[in-house]
């Protein structure tokens, strides 16, 4: 929306968008009941205008979800359960968006953001990315600094989902030791099926199972088919593998549509999810397991994150202002 239309919704009909993999009609065809939309700003905005750019992306999502009757913004698990429309949720993709400021994190939560990926493809001053494209904030032995731990605890206190997609393994392990609530990978796949820095290795899958977290499988060809175009079958292999290692209750779907270009045959856009479900059914997945993958596992994690936040109210809030 930003690149093509400069966030001007008056220039586009969200029901039918020619240039993207996502629009409302295809979401309906794909039976999407809820979509987490990413408020993303580039790493090169870090230490510059990342906060303002992120606010503009959050504003865009709020406007999208307000202006179309098919969409409804939700900020709670209950809201997601009860809506009769396509639920919109907002996530922020990269800790650089909060400019090392816990108050900024809190204000994003107040605006309706319910998930934050700790890094995108760049390190922040307090957490490490799996990507080494950018030279700044190289970490020594501290993939998650003391302040990074404060960020995690503040997210627990607020009830904000912690998203480890894009984080380094060091950061992921550190977070899993600090967080009092389950965490997610919003769009990462199985490293054992396709080795890639963006994917989750088996030991981490096990730790996610232990902590009742969620791995939402990314459908992008590079991550599922390791350089080939791929097809539904290779994607289903990722699901099978994660089920074997971490259990069907640890799985969700995080397509990464419109965040990447190049998807497997049969999964070109958001209308194609049913074909994936069909394949899993044919591989013997039960309806219960699939209901989990489709939405119940996410709802479970979201509810537990909410419980941790309201349970922790007596623990007092972080007074730390800025790093």
């Amino acid at each position: 929306m930003r690149i093509i239309y400069d966030n001007q919704l008056s220039k586009v009909d969200l029901r039918k968008i020619p240039q993207t993999a996502t629009d409302i009609s295809r979401m309906q065809a794909g039976h999407i009941g809820a979509q987490v939309f990413s408020a993303y700003v580039m790493c090169t905005a870090q230490e510059k205008d990342a906060v303002r750019l992120t606010l503009e992306q959050v504003d865009l999502i709020l406007r999208m979800c307000n202006e179309y009757e098919e969409l409804e913004l939700v900020t709670t698990a209950a809201g997601m359960r009860n809506t009769k429309k396509i639920a919109c949720l907002i996530s922020i993709e990269g800790g650089h968006s909060i400019d090392s400021s816990l108050p900024t994190l809190r204000m994003f939560y107040q605006l309706g953001v319910r998930s934050l990926a700790l890094t995108h493809t760049c390190n922040t001053p307090w957490a490490e990315s799996s990507s080494k494209i950018y030279p700044f904030y190289k970490r020594g032995n501290n993939s998650l600094t003391d302040f990074g731990k404060e960020v995690v605890l503040e997210m627990n206190r607020l009830g904000m989902l912690i998203d480890l997609s894009h984080s380094s393994k060091g950061t992921a392990w550190a977070v899993l030791n600090v967080s009092r609530a389950p965490v997610i990978f919003s769009h990462s796949s199985a490293d054992a099926v396709c080795p890639h820095i963006r994917n989750v290795p088996d030991d981490l899958l096990l730790r996610m199972k232990e902590t009742r977290g969620l791995i939402m499988v990314n459908l992008y060809s590079d991550f599922v088919a390791c350089g080939q175009k791929g097809n539904i079958s290779i994607v289903a292999d990722h699901f099978d593998h994660i089920k074997k290692v971490a259990g069907a209750e640890s799985i969700g779907i995080g397509g990464d549509y419109d965040g990447a270009s190049g998807f497997p045959d049969g999964l070109e856009d958001v209308s194609k999810y049913p074909a994936l479900i069909q394949e899993l059914l044919s591989r013997g997945w039960s309806e219960n397991e699939l209901a989990g993958v489709l939405r119940n596992n996410f709802l479970r994690v979201f509810e537990e994150v909410e419980q941790v936040s309201s349970g922790g109210r007596s623990a007092g809030q972080s007074q730390t202002n800025t790093h």
Binding site: N7, D49, V51, R52, L55, E56, V58, D59, L60, L62, D99, S101, P103, T104, R106, M107, Q110, L111, G316, Q317, Q319, N321, T322
Partner: protein
């Protein structure tokens, strides 16, 4: 003051909290804090019923981290209200002010002081509204890319926008549309004129006084007071010595003179209180801190202000403006 809430348009306690305590509310007791003009005990003594707390980022953060800085100040105001729920009630509407008044709590609103805080971004403006901000002072003492400040009139800053730029006009329209009050304290005279012409809703001066009595470019000249009256806006009188007597020595009587003058020139319907406590380092004898408002009211009564006029100045005028701004947005 028991019947009508006293609503003050501008208090910089959040700025003091940042400077003194790094926004760490755990390290201060707002009931008894004693090196500021404001604390909760004094507010109660002063019968202050509603306060616009200022979220301010310094001008030299423009083009740098002004947005993030402003979010931090908005956050500290929210946390003040969360930490003192018996005394403070967060408010974001005219209705909320009355609700708080009925519950004998101090309605706490947010004003952002300086257009540089939105970084020329209407999306940011909208989200600050969503975070509860209900007025934006178009400039502090620096030009934005779309509006000139009062120092242009003093000659020390160049006029960059000839008042408001085209984008500045869009900002005004968007503020009208979303229901954000437009605050003209700190802007240049050209901006004052242009906004009073352009805005579909009444506008405010959250902390400015009468130019005729003290010729300071932060104050409002008589002809503009009349334009404000025509648009049914409000001028909330700033108590700062330099704006009241244009000198260091000032008393409560001098402040009452400003109230009298504005009433005479433009009518009692445009007057309000905008003390600027904790935003300035010199306040008048007799108005040393926020507990002293009643003494000013007593002086106005002594000068034969009627009850109707006093209630208007205390809060009815601001409530009228706020309701009209809300109405225009719907």
């Amino acid at each position: 003051m028991g019947e009508t809430p006293l609503i003050d348009g501008h208090n910089d306690l959040p700025w003091q909290i940042r400077g003194l305590f790094n926004n760490e509310l755990n390290t201060v007791d707002l009931h008894t804090l004693n090196n500021t003009h404001t604390n909760i005990a004094k507010i109660k003594e002063g019968r202050l019923a509603a306060q616009f707390w200022v979220a301010y980022a310094p001008c030299d953060s423009q083009y740098k981290d002004a947005v993030r800085y402003t979010l931090e100040q908005i956050d500290v105001i929210h946390r003040m209200c969360q930490k003192y729920p018996e005394d403070l009630m967060f408010a974001a509407s005219s209705g909320d002010i009355l609700k708080a008044f009925n519950q004998k709590k101090i309605a706490s609103l947010i004003g952002v002081e300086g257009g540089h805080s939105i970084d020329s971004s209407l999306g940011t403006l909208r989200l600050m509204y969503q975070l509860g901000v209900r007025y934006l002072t178009l400039t502090h003492s620096c030009n934005t890319p779309w509006a000139d400040n009062w120092l242009v009139d003093e000659g020390s800053h160049p006029a960059e926008n000839n008042g408001l730029s085209k984008f500045g006009e869009q900002v005004i329209k968007e503020m009208n549309r979303i229901g954000m009050m437009i605050d003209l304290s700190h802007v240049s005279e050209k901006v004052m004129n242009q906004v009073l012409e352009l805005s579909a809703a009444p506008v405010i001066f959250s902390h400015s006084s009468a130019y005729a009595l003290c010729k300071h470019k932060r104050n409002v000249p008589d002809y503009l007071l009349q334009k404000v009256a025509h648009k049914k806006g409000i001028v909330m009188v700033n108590f700062y010595n330099n704006y009241i007597t244009c000198s260091k020595n000032t008393t409560l009587l001098d402040v009452a003179d400003h109230f009298d003058h504005i009433k005479k020139v433009a009518g009692y319907q445009i007057i309000g209180f905008g003390g600027d406590y904790d935003g300035v380092n010199r306040v008048p004898q007799g108005l040393e801190d926020v507990s002293k408002y009643p003494d000013l009211v007593t002086e106005l009564l002594r000068r034969n202000w009627t009850d109707l006029e006093i209630m208007a100045a205390l809060g009815e005028n601001l409530l009228r403006v706020f309701k009209e701004v809300e109405r225009v947005s719907h």
